[in-house]
């Protein structure tokens, strides 16, 4: 059942669940952050509307810098502004930023310890028809490898809004991963959010122990919840964790879940190599070796198609999660 403590969207499992692009929450959050702190500035690389910076640009034109199609400049100018006390939010598509400008982010934001906030939109195959060049599948891997970098992958637009507001208040260089398409709104304004905190969105009814744990990040949390609902109806005790901060990991929450369930499935719209599942596996291999099945992209690039077609084609749908649970239960 949905964890009542999280005050999730009561219509979450309805066929007409509200759907909003995650990136929209970033745009709303940036505006709120800008209202409360005049040092918040925005920089964009010719994708202002698409990355949802338009509202900030309109309200605060003097605090917005249009960089043009130059992602290396985007990162380094942002770092220079941070050196003068600004809290720069820079946005582009994730394949370009942090894809193209990773070294500039490494040296001038992370190594320099500047509070540069990087919004990488259009992550995952669910970008759809634009095709593989525009579908970031490696961004979490390259960002979580950077010392100091905080990596957040919100599950919906409301969580993205909260993550953006929270990121504006820290001194850490931070990566926020966003998606293009409309995805189900799972959380509400009342759902708690804290950077670095993982929470169980779905728990076994009646206070029973989970026999399998699903750890999901980003919009695929919805597919994980759908799979959990089906498994619950078949009598399985399932817990689903929303792991929205990939770095720093909420180690205690993950170890607790692993201790309880002793079998895990990780779910992410990202390469399996180096992503969230890898982060979980690195932790548990040291602390609590646990069988894990990984849902994600298996060393492939994306292609054009409809978002749902691509999620299915690359093995990240509800049925794939359901089957992964069956596989991992055999391995217990």
């Amino acid at each position: 059942m949905l964890n009542p403590d999280l005050k999730l969207n009561p219509k979450l499992f309805d066929a007409d669940v509200e759907q909003v692009p995650i990136r929209k929450g970033f745009g709303q959050g940036l505006l709120i952050a800008g209202d409360s702190d005049k040092n918040v500035v925005g920089l964009c690389a010719d994708l202002t509307e698409s990355t949802q910076m338009e509202a900030f640009k309109k309200k605060y034109p003097e605090r917005f810098v249009e960089i043009g199609v130059a992602e290396q400049n985007l990162a380094t100018v942002a770092s220079g502004m941070a050196a003068m006390g600004k809290i720069p939010f820079m946005s582009s598509y994730a394949t370009f930023s942090p894809g193209r400008n990773w070294e500039q982010i490494r040296t001038t934001a992370a190594y320099n310890n500047r509070p540069v906030k990087i919004a990488g939109s259009h992550a995952g195959v669910s970008v759809g028809p634009d095709g593989g060049t525009h579908q970031a599948l490696e961004d979490m891997a390259i960002m979580r490898a950077l010392p100091r970098m905080v990596v957040i992958s919100p599950c919906d637009s409301i969580e993205a809004r909260k993550a953006t507001i929270a990121a504006a208040k820290t001194k850490d260089p931070t990566y926020i991963r966003l998606a293009r398409e409309k995805t189900p709104v799972m959380t509400t304004d009342e759902t708690p959010f804290e950077i670095g905190k993982a929470r169980l969105a779905f728990i076994p009814a009646g206070g029973k122990k989970a026999e399998v744990g699903i750890i999901a990040t980003g919009a695929l949390l919805y597919k994980a919840l759908m799979a959990a609902k089906r498994l619950e109806s078949e009598g399985k005790m399932v817990a689903v964790m929303n792991l929205s901060t990939i770095k720093p990991l909420d180690e205690k929450a993950i170890i607790d879940l692993s201790n309880e369930a002793k079998a895990l499935v990780t779910v992410e719209e990202h390469q399996i190599a180096g992503g969230m599942g890898s982060a979980v596996a690195e932790l548990l291999a040291s602390h609590h070796p646990t069988p894990i099945e990984f849902i994600g992209v298996r060393d492939l690039f994306g292609q054009s198609g409809k978002p749902d077609e691509l999620i299915e084609l690359y093995g990240m749908g509800e049925s794939h999660i359901y089957q992964a649970v069956q596989r991992v239960l055999i391995r217990k």
Partner: protein, 292 residues
């Protein structure tokens, strides 16, 4: 403040001291870059001892001018100049490139927070300085008194990020920004015009709407003419293309690109370097050292 004859002579002596410190630190480190630091010693000396608004005893002074070193590998000249200016003890220069030293092989703010930025990977300093100048304009408007200097190499102009920064600075009309290019014509693999031709370099900058000044990077009067001219430019960033001699001060090493990335290593090389620089420092024994 005008550059008097007395001040110019003092700067020349100071630059000689700084060159000797550079080479002593490199010899002790047994690795590092020789040509660029020696070539830029006069300009660094001029900036730190004449032009910059700064306070070595209060490095985080809010209204200081910012000097960003983009080509981080010439940091021995930055470190030596800062030490001579009073930011930290001169003897600390002998820790260059050693374990736990504040003087990392390429500058790192974690170790030496008084640096404006960390650098090493080339081509990224200009756009950071552009970001600083834009942020300053947001806070203080177009008449802000702070100035922003970016020290660059000619070789790093191969990198697209340099030109991205140049284009944005032109668009934003950042007259508080001055880029100073060490036009020494060498990079690691050879002469710049053989590796990747940059000329006509001044025209490139003009085409991005920059004010361009060329100067002799070893003549304090000419450096002064160039830098003070930047202060009179409005609504345009300025680039100073400073013609310099790599390894300036050690005739046997001058102009040779082989000295880009190594220190004097053999006993003969060490002797050659020290003899040449000590001779300059005392003008062949005719003047007193300025070192305290």
């Amino acid at each position: 403040m005008p550059l008097t004859d007395e001040k110019a002579a003092l700067l020349a002596k100071k630059a000689a001291e700084i060159r000797l410190s550079i080479i002593e630190s490199l010899i002790e480190a047994k690795s590092g870059h020789t040509a660029g630091p020696l070539g830029m010693a006069d300009i660094f000396t001029y900036l730190y001892f004449h032009a910059l608004k700064h306070d070595p005893k209060n490095p985080s002074w809010e209204y200081r001018d910012r000097l960003v070193l983009s080509n981080g590998h010439i940091c021995p000249v930055l470190y030596a100049t800062m030490a001579h200016a009073g930011y930290f003890p001169i003897k600390e220069l002998m820790t260059l490139r050693k374990l736990h030293s504040r003087l990392q092989g390429h500058p790192h703010r974690d170790f030496l927070p008084m640096l404006e930025t960390s650098s090493g990977p080339l081509g990224s300093g200009l756009s950071q300085t552009v970001g600083m100048a834009i942020a300053d304009r947001i806070d203080s408007g177009r008449t802000s008194s702070r100035r922003f200097y970016c020290m660059m190499s000619d070789g790093e102009l191969d990198a697209g990020n340099s030109w991205e920064g140049a284009m944005l600075a032109g668009k934003e009309k950042l007259h508080s920004l001055t880029a100073i290019i060490d036009r020494n014509n060498i990079q690691i693999d050879g002469f710049t015009e053989d590796i990747m031709p940059l000329d006509p370099l001044a025209d490139k900058w003009r085409s991005w709407n920059w004010h361009v000044i060329e100067c002799n990077g070893h003549d304090f009067r000419d450096i002064d003419r160039a830098v003070t001219e930047t202060w009179a430019v409005f609504d345009k960033p300025t680039v100073i293309i400073a013609y310099t001699i790599p390894s300036k001060g050690i005739p046997e090493f001058e102009r040779k690109f082989e000295w880009h990335g190594k220190p004097p290593g053999t006993p003969e090389e060490i002797e050659t370097a020290l003899r040449a620089l000590k001779a300059i420092r005392t003008m062949g024994g005719k003047v007193e050292s300025t070192r305290p």
